[in-house]
Symmetry: C2
Subunit: 316 residues, 2 copies
């Protein structure tokens, strides 16, 4: 029997990760790619179960994402939010009229006993997403951001407070009880797995919870396929989200090198942007290969080009 095609596992947070996931989906067949999304920023709001990272990747792969806003759905409208405000409802978390269909469907299916994995598969199928996209776990995990104003649930910190409070640390409630995604664990034992790609997502609150799932780090280390990551820090800044601000607040230099240090021991290769080229040799000193290339993805061409370069990189 011929061996199956080589497979890629991508670990993703929200927007940045979704861009690379889209690039990978354009150069890999559906059966070659599994994207595992962080669900530690999921939360229940107004009784609705919301999975921001999972949805961002799903909408992006479906070609339905709002490129102008950088989040949510294209052609979104806000009549629900306006009416909610008029009724005195909490309107700090913007739920678009179209987006709401996803949350209502998901909440309803969860209440019927369906797993997040199963219903994500169904929603993806309905939206024509052919590549594998699954939550890191079926069990709820909740990120708590420890700030100078006290503990904040992640979306409170991220959306309501616009990342304003200074971060001292963070923790993931429920993580120890969360069963890691079965398909993810199976893929790490699959001889056809060619590489694990950690997308350019926030290392602390998007990637860390996935890596901290029970047995996952051990499985990654035991797996013969190389693990590579793309730096979410470019020129000392995060392209999206609070990663750089969090690093400074946690007394870490906001550099690609520091992200490399954070992932050291796990990575076989690290991908940094051309503007951080001067950090390449220090990164290689951490015991990982370093690829310097353009990592900022504006166009679809940027995404597929980076995806192609990554696949070449892991094959070196």
């Amino acid at each position: 029997m011929a061996a199956g095609p080589d497979k890629i596992l991508a670990i993703s947070g929200g927007v940045g990760g979704a861009k690379l996931a889209l690039g990978l989906s354009r150069i890999l067949a559906p059966e070659q790619l599994l994207i595992c999304a962080n669900t530690a920023d999921d939360f229940t709001h107004l009784g609705l179960r919301i999975c921001p990272d999972l949805d961002t990747v799903m909408y992006t792969l479906a070609g339905l994402n709002n490129t102008r806003l950088g989040w949510g759905l294209a052609g979104e409208s806000w009549q629900f939010m306006e009416s909610l405000g008029a009724l005195g409802g909490a309107d700090w978390f913007r739920l678009g009229d179209k987006d709401l269909a996803t949350h209502v469907m998901r909440t309803h299916m969860l209440s019927q006993g369906r797993s997040l994995t199963e219903l994500t598969r169904q929603l993806c199928r309905e939206l024509g997403v052919e590549h594998g996209l699954l939550p890191m776990s079926n069990e709820p995990v909740a990120t708590v951001v420890e700030t100078d104003e006290g503990d904040l649930p992640f979306q409170d910190y991220f959306v309501r407070r616009q990342c304003e409070p200074a971060v001292r640390g963070y923790r993931f409630e429920g993580l120890e009880e969360a069963e890691p995604q079965a398909e993810l664990m199976a893929l790490l034992r699959d001889p056809d797995l060619e590489a694990i790609i950690i997308c350019p997502s926030n290392p602390f609150v998007s990637v860390a919870p996935v890596l901290a799932l029970q047995g996952l780090r051990e499985a990654l280390l035991a797996c013969p396929a190389p693990v590579i990551a793309v730096s979410p820090i470019v020129g000392g800044r995060a392209l999206k989200g609070p990663a750089a601000k969090m690093m400074r607040e946690m007394q870490l230099p906001a550099t690609a090198l520091e992200v490399g240090r954070y992932y050291a021991g796990l990575l076989d290769g690290f991908v940094i942007d051309e503007c951080d080229r001067d950090q390449a040799s220090l990164i290689e000193g951490l015991g990982m290969k370093c690829l310097v290339t353009g990592t900022v993805m504006h166009t679809l061409e940027d995404k597929t080009r980076l995806a192609r370069e990554l696949l070449t990189f892991v094959r070196i």
Copy 2:
């Protein structure tokens, strides 16, 4: 201590009842009017608790109702429904983007242990509805329509099947366990209660469940205030909904007189449309006064004029 102003209790279903309720609200002070809405057509759809009659009255009193559609909110949009359809969700019950805010808020508040009465009061306050509007009960009651195709939950019969199956009967599940609205019962014992007005709503599925609440019929009969009803059947037809079709299918003549017969023993007065004037003496033969007037309410003037005539009628 001076006596308070005279008070009116109105019992209402959806659209027709809401029109009269609006008329009454324009000629009575907030503390003079309590509208008690049927909740036996409430249902849970996609995990959302939906109270069609209660919302129709609330939106109408708030001046937010969609007069073109005859239901729902003015300026409604349907992006949620479209996306729901794209996700393979059940889209036979039209939930507008704006309307959805009510259902999400209500479902969330119910899940937090708030009562339907309490949250209805809150939603009304937010929408600027000053007159009393309350559900007939806090407990769920579910209308089952017995048809030639078997039993159907009410909204399945009414919306999904567009009242097409022939009706053999109906029943109200949960009614015996449902506690009648405390304010309604208190008002029936209030010496300031001047009249009870049964709005022009479907006698079988909108008014019957309210009247069948434990102890309510007895309290109505014991109450010295007159009970009057406005016929929902005009010229052999229901202005809205399946009342006339149901009557024919249950081997009853679809006439105002027959509605009078249905309410006989309870009513002190019955209001019929001018086009049914020939039934007036037969109606009076049932032991109730009969007022013949224009009962079709197109304009706000129609509604307030009818409301005024009703108050004159009960004072005769």
